[in-house]
Amino acid sequence: MKHYDIVVIGGGPAGIAAALKASGGGASVALLERDEKLGGTLNQCMHFGFGEKYFGKNMQGTEFAKRLIRRLKKSNVSVYVNTTVIKLQKDKSVMAVCSSVGLLQLQAAAIIIASGCIEKNVQSTSTSVAGNRPTGVYTAGLAQKLLNNYDFLVGNNIVILGSGDIGLTMARLLHLRGAKIIMVTEQYPYCRGSIKNKEQCLDEYNIPLLTSTTITRIIGKSRVEGVYIADVDTGARDSKGNKTLKPIMASERFVECDTVLLAVGLTQDNQLVQQVGLVIDKASGGALVDERRQGSVEGFFICGDGLHIHSSVDAVCFEAEDVGGFAREYALGGGGVVESSGQGVGEAPQINNQHISTQPAKAQHISVKTCSNLAYVVPQKITKGAKDVYIYFRPKTQLENVTLTVKDAKDNILLQKEYDILYVGKNYSVRLEQELIENITLNVEC
């Protein structure tokens, strides 16, 4: 059994950035990665659009990963690749399988879970696609991996389901590699990805975007032969007031294609979070955390897309750095001040940690509540006495001309912020400077 102050699980950008920060100040850190290569999802991202804020330069995802890995090589973090955690326990013992040593057993004082996200699929009832599942149906990320890492173009005539940034980026990539993108369908009445992406990835190449439209059935026995698409009833709501987005079956029509790309979003990989028994927040879908991204069990920190889906890898890294600092502070047990990365990242800045001291034995928490217009908030609770906390949120649907109001339990308005538009595909943040005494609520009014 080897001892480390901090064990970081996951060698994507969040894990690397967290490990680098955690390893400062004499702390011993191990980083465990399942794959043979560090870098996580970045390894399949050959396109540009990464690093503007973190490295001050727009670069490919692969380049971003390389730079982080170079830093890691210079650090004294112990890196284990081809290593998968199979047992993580509340006492912070870690058991992993590792191709070079067999069974790896570690004991840590603090754990950082940076396990990333997985692609959603389309079976939940509101979006379920009927018909067949022949060869030729891929999630967008899988198609990207097959193209960039295995040099395999998944099809010639492609329909893409979902207009998030991943769907848009894949439309362009596949188009440039010679495939015909017949259309991108989107069940919402608007594009879910950014306007910039829509212009650069679709409009530029005359790829049609059909909003308020979904795929109802996939047709084909051994290979995809086509899909049925239909208009979506965007007004219909269920008993709880949520949009049902039911297709109007009378409008069903056939579109010939040989490939379907499912780009319906990402969701946290909660396997380890669940294994330890950390409380999960239903709204965010990830672990319930305080402002340091500490979960419901002391000493377990969660960051990156494994906590909530970020808008950019830059935001992931800033957050992860801060989490690395908090974990080190916790592990070493001293009150040593952790320096902040001190860089703002526009709509998604890092958490500023200057004013947060070591957690007292029994910390009291303020809970953060939200209204029905927002999908979630992170963190869901704030340690009493904490100042300068960034609260992230994501709207449930696209909202225009709205005011965000933060109130305390007595309905005093703490902060107001106006937005022309809040995109569904993005997360946003507000900074709370004052010391908070009671529960707070985030309200968005249209």
């Binding site: 590792c98 067999g102 009832t125 018909g131 295995y150 395999f152 396997q271």
Partner: protein, 476 residues
């Protein structure tokens, strides 16, 4: 050219065909199976509820009743011999106050069929067994012998066991033409039939056993045997993520109505929750497309029966096709064509009954077709498979990884399946070539992300082994 000639050829690699092949492999015969698809278990045998029924449901004095009850008794031992996942969960037919009469009728029918472990229970016991059941369900027939298995793993295991005992399995071999050499068989060395496949292979055989499922009617026609009428009825399903494990503990049936058996909620051996099947009449027995109406019906009807279903946590939909020929299974030696046995209309509880059906067919063969067939002295009923990663203890894991480090390279993150296990599947007796076939053997790609994460790597591993381009590796 008699290189591919057999004493018996079984057509159809479903659970029934594979069970028959395995039974015949215990005789001193040359036997083979021809399957249309790239793997066994691609028909009804992969897309069903996976239930080992207890047998109260079948009409008394039918083959269905007899073989279901027998099959239930044999299931655990067979799954043990073949290393197939099996779990005794028990089943419940749950009813509201008006349903008690029907529940009692089923109970008595069960007793008549010789089913053991039946009990009618009331609200208190019902709540204890199924806390998530809606409170207006106050009566139930509890069938303690009902169990669940992995239907495709059973089918694969039966095929592998048969192969281990000398039988041959030909995949991608759809039978499209059958020449009856009747009368000429002396000149043909005793071979009564010549079979042609869509892949242009030719086979000679002395006996055909038709277990072609949805294709069985066509096979009878091709051979000139008695007409086999089959109707086709599709059943759609939802499968939940493993996170829903524990929603229900047993197999829950609503009380059957004149409209049908209703939609069930049950666990799978892997821990998912299954919702289905529907019953939609269709014309094409090979049409396994999921219907939207079916999905809507599943949501509507099971939501009335069980609380706390999280519909946002479904990971997959699928459909299977039942082939129905009247009220009972059709298992007959042909009068019209010598050396031909029909095994048709094997709808539910065919998965449960497959093994007794196979023993019965072997009996028919020995009494009507080949009285001289003798038992193989060294028949081995035990089929071993490589242990899964998740089944191993720490010492086994350590040793396995030391011997072969690829067992530490986790490829499927949702189900924790290593490269070593995937290669075990790739190298397994039927030499699977598609990602779905790998999934059926080691569960890789069966989890929350449905292969989004691991499929590229699995395709690459298959391609490397087969020395083909990755683009040649399909899902099916």
């Amino acid at each position: 050219m008699r290189s591919k000639s057999y004493d018996v050829i079984v057509i159809g690699g479903g659970v029934v065909g594979c069970a028959i092949l395995r039974e015949l492999s215990s005789l001193n015969l040359k036997v083979a199976l021809l399957e249309k698809f790239d793997d066994v278990s691609c028909g009804a045998s992969k897309a069903n509820s996976g239930i080992i029924h207890s047998g109260y449901d079948c009409k008394p004095n039918t083959l269905k009743a007899k073989f279901c009850v027998e099959g239930n008794k044999m299931a655990q031992g067979l799954c043990h011999d073949l290393e197939v996942p099996f779990k005794n969960t028990g089943s419940l037919v749950v009813g509201r106050s008006a349903d008690l009469t029907e529940i009692k009728r089923l109970y008595n029918q069960g007793l008549e069929n010789g089913v053991s472990g039946l009990e009618i229970i009331g609200s208190a016991k019902l709540r204890e067994l199924e806390p998530n059941l809606k409170t207006d369900y106050i009566h139930a027939l509890w069938a303690k012998t009902a169990s669940i298995i992995s239907p495709y793993m059973k089918t694969i295991a039966l095929a592998e066991s048969a192969m281990q005992n000398g039988a041959k399995v030909y995949l991608n071999s759809e039978v499209v033409k059958i020449d009856n050499l009747g009368g000429l068989e002396k000149a043909q060395g005793g071979f009564k039939f010549r079979l042609h496949t869509a892949s242009n292979q030719t086979f000679y055989t002395k006996c055909i056993i038709n277990a072609a499922g949805a294709g069985a009617s066509i096979i009878n026609e091709l051979a000139g045997a008695e007409a086999l009428e089959q109707k086709y009825r599709k059943g759609d399903y939802f499968v939940s993520d493993l996170s829903e494990k524990g929603l229900v503990n047993t197999i829950i049936f609503p009380t059957p109505s004149p409209l049908g058996k209703g939609v069930l909620v049950l666990p799978t051996v892997d821990g998912n929750v299954l919702f289905g099947p529907t019953a939609i009449d269709i014309d094409d027995g090979f049409d396994t497309s999921v219907s939207r109406d079916g999905l809507d019906l599943i949501v509507a009807s099971t939501s009335q029966m069980v609380n706390n279903i999280n519909w946002d946590n479904m990971i997959r939909v699928y459909a299977g096709v039942r082939f129905i020929s009247g009220d009972d299974f059709v298992i007959e030696v042909s009068d019209k064509v010598g050396g031909f046995i029909t095994v048709g209309g094997i709808c539910s509880p065919g998965l449960t009954a497959a093994y007794p059906i196979a023993q019965y067919v072997k009996g028919l063969y020995k009494t009507h077709i080949n009285k001289k067939a003798t038992d193989k002295a060294n028949f081995n009923p035990i089929r071993k498979r490589a242990k899964y990663f998740t089944e191993m203890n720490e010492i086994e894991l350590r040793d396995r990884i030391k011997a072969n480090p690829s067992y530490a390279k986790i490829v499927c993150r949702c189900e924790t399946i290593s490269e070593g296990e995937i290669m075990d599947a790739v190298n397994s007796p039927l030499k699977p070539t598609s990602t779905d076939a790998i999934k059926r053997r080691v569960r890789a790609g069966m989890g929350s992300c449905q292969g989004a994460f691991c499929q590229a790597k699995i395709m690459a591993l298959i391609a490397k082994k087969r020395k083909v381009k990755i683009s040649k590796v399909g899902k099916k």
